[in-house]
Symmetry: C2
């Protein structure tokens, strides 16, 4: 079955917001084994939206529309689709009830606001959101007032979802996903193999034979700054069969990439994998950052519960700070420079002394745009990790602008911590 996405909203056409909904829904369709040939973005305009819906109806089986379900007169997705399928709008009492209780709750929670008498703040416009296309399935919105809808019409299926991702994604996951799964006679299962420390093109080349010969499961690379993710998707009659199809591929990838793979779970990030390793071996971590300036520790703290293993970090952006807090020898800085193997090493070792942590990671580099020389170009970054008396140093030559270089440095630092722990403990 083919799916077509229609994103509705003038704010998308003006570039006010990035269309992450299309990306999210495309991934979901790929995981479900549906084929997606078209993504369309159009404004809140009846003529143009109507045309786009009719075109989609002619060439696709399932049409997912996001946006334009709000309470204002600009929001016309439901009204336009109703005309295309030739059905009237009728009041849905269940939605009306839900909208009322949503507002009641909203005002009750916000103690600064007095609940207006008879909830006058609910205007006539709000009740517009309780209208449904006749004989459609209403999907409750647990994070807002606009319900979603499924309209089955002459072998075609229209799915209407609210535009804000915070409302759309939970609605899709809780209600639309089970509905769509039933439409598939096959079960589709997907796993993610996440790789770090190998470039994208090299990683792809390493399994090009598998990618080229893929039918079921399929292998698709997903680009992510400094990492490479491969999604393996298999379709089968039963989940166990799909699992059985995926298993040998994962095994093969593990054989080829070894411990460059940091997880085969979709929900595990690199920082989470590192924190889990630290927790597992009961190790504490501290950070010392120069060019990344806090991005590394900031990413570690992304993980809820990081406080179990991470208690402190230093931003030593100046030489003075490196001497003062990390006890880096001024001679080292003078002789080898702030961006050098020697300084990185001393930063990590000093960090162990200052904090008493088990694992110390230090980053020093030239993020640009200025400060590069022929010997030490922009993008040169030294990362050091000290653990149990052993100190590892990695020299990196990153390409790209300041932001890209700093981002890659963070990934490389997390990866070095991971590899150092594996080196010592596994």
């Amino acid at each position: 079955m083919t799916v077509e996405l229609i994103s509705i909203g003038t704010e998308l056409l003006l570039g006010n917001i990035i269309n992450t909904n299309a990306t999210y829904l495309s991934i979901q369709c790929a995981k479900l084994g549906f084929t997606l040939y078209h993504q369309i973005t159009v404004g809140d305009n009846e003529v143009r939206l109507s045309d786009v819906i009719k075109t989609a109806q002619d060439r696709s089986d399932i049409i997912i529309l996001t946006g334009g379900l709000g309470p204002t007169s600009d929001d016309i997705t439901k009204e336009t689709l109703a005309k295309v399928v030739g059905r009237e709008l009728v009041m849905d009492e269940h939605s009306k009830e839900r909208i009322l209780s949503y507002y009641k709750q909203l005002y009750a929670y916000d103690t600064n606001k007095v609940l207006p008498k008879g909830l006058e703040l609910i205007t006539e416009n709000n009740w517009k959101q309780a209208l449904k296309i006749r004989d459609s399935i209403v999907i409750d919105n647990d994070n807002g007032t606009a319900p979603g809808y499924i309209v089955e019409d002459k072998n075609k299926i229209f799915i209407l979802l609210p535009g804000p991702p915070g409302e759309m994604i939970p609605m899709f996951e809780n209600h639309i996903l089970p509905y769509l799964k039933k439409l598939q006679d096959k079960v589709f299962l997907s796993k993610m193999v996440k790789i770090c420390g190998i470039g994208e093109s090299k990683a792809e080349t390493m399994i090009m034979d598998l990618i080229k010969s893929q039918t079921n499961p399929t292998i698709a690379p997903y680009a992510k700054s400094g990492e490479v993710h491969f999604r393996i998707t298999a379709g089968a009659d039963k989940e166990e069969e799909a699992e059985a199809l995926i298993k040998p591929i994962i095994k093969e990838l593990k054989a080829r990439f070894g411990n460059n793979i940091y997880t085969t779970r979709e929900d595990i990030t690199l920082e989470k994998a590192v924190i889990d390793l630290l927790i597992n071996y009961k190790l504490t971590l501290a950070t010392a950052e120069s060019c990344t300036g806090g991005l590394l520790s900031g990413r570690i703290v992304n993980v809820a519960g990081a406080s179990q293993v991470f208690t402190e970090g230093f931003i030593t952006y100046s030489n003075q700070a490196k001497i003062k807090y990390l006890n880096v020898n001024p001679d080292t800085l003078n002789t080898y420079g702030a961006v050098s193997e020697e300084t990185a090493k001393e930063m990590a070792l000093g960090l162990i002394k200052t904090t008493g942590c088990d694992v110390a990671v230090a980053v020093t580099g030239i993020a640009g745009p200025d400060g590069g020389t022929k010997e030490k170009p922009v993008g040169l970054v030294y990362i050091s990790c000290s653990i149990k008396g052993k100190t590892f140093v990695k020299r990196c030559n990153f390409k790209g602008n300041r932001a890209k270089i700093r981002e890659q440095s963070v990934v490389a630092a997390l990866d070095l911590v991971r590899r150092s722990i594996l080196e010592i403990y596994v």
Copy 2:
């Protein structure tokens, strides 16, 4: 004139990458005063791409196509458009020369690789990139091998650009923008008013009368986490006239928003505005972060040249670290807790003592998902800024998930530094 965007690439349909090209080009079109009604994404498939081009040709004046210009047989954008406009592909000697010198340079720079004899690595496929649609304008690619093209055909204009943003954006800015500007009989000028410290809906309400009555200039809000940006765009016969149309709107916005506006320049970020203030008043800054865990300092270091005013920072994620490095009184932590006005204040004051900086900013809060109580819910964040013996504290109640709360905390901290400096010095 109307513009239509066509993004080409299977990776977009699989959700492997987010379509930031569409967002970027939409903003550019809005700034140029062009009307954009449709954004289309389609795969590298001749039949479907051909259909999409024909539809665009019927309803739009300028069609911008991105992607599918690479050297592989999958890349068919140029070939498909050639068929639609009924022109043959011819070898462009200039592009051939450029591709050759691009590869020469690539191998010469990379000292690890030996330049292959006669550059054998340039396969026949690479020469495919030197083919142009007859009578089209070739646009040099300064960041890759795939040139862009402008094809003028029966009152319609097709613009073909490479897919990677790193190649597309410079090509657009350097070559396409001047071309498109000539097509406009009017000059369009746009300015950005960036606001911090007021929520999006409140900010919009404050100028709703201006937004509702807008014709020329237009005012469009752009959402950005923790900030509100308004783009003011005016069209006129001459640049000075457009400037004159914008000026009173900027003045009115300044009157209404006061020093909630941190810049009226598009290229100035909040962190850059803060750094500029610090440089201007010759002040040094230090940071102490708990829940943001380095994101604040990381964002400050985004600014190239931040080292002039920012030398050091602390991640004091644990209570112990707050006591050890910032001299926070253990009694304060016991009595009021780590997330309190008192602790935030002591963190900032301790930071001044430890580092000798002029301006100290400290953040402590509950980012969740756990750790919240009825008195201190998830999202409660205290920010303190100490400067010249005066210490300001701001209590924030943020909504959203862990990442959102931390992001808003960073913005609020930068904003507090900005306001504190203005309070003392202006």
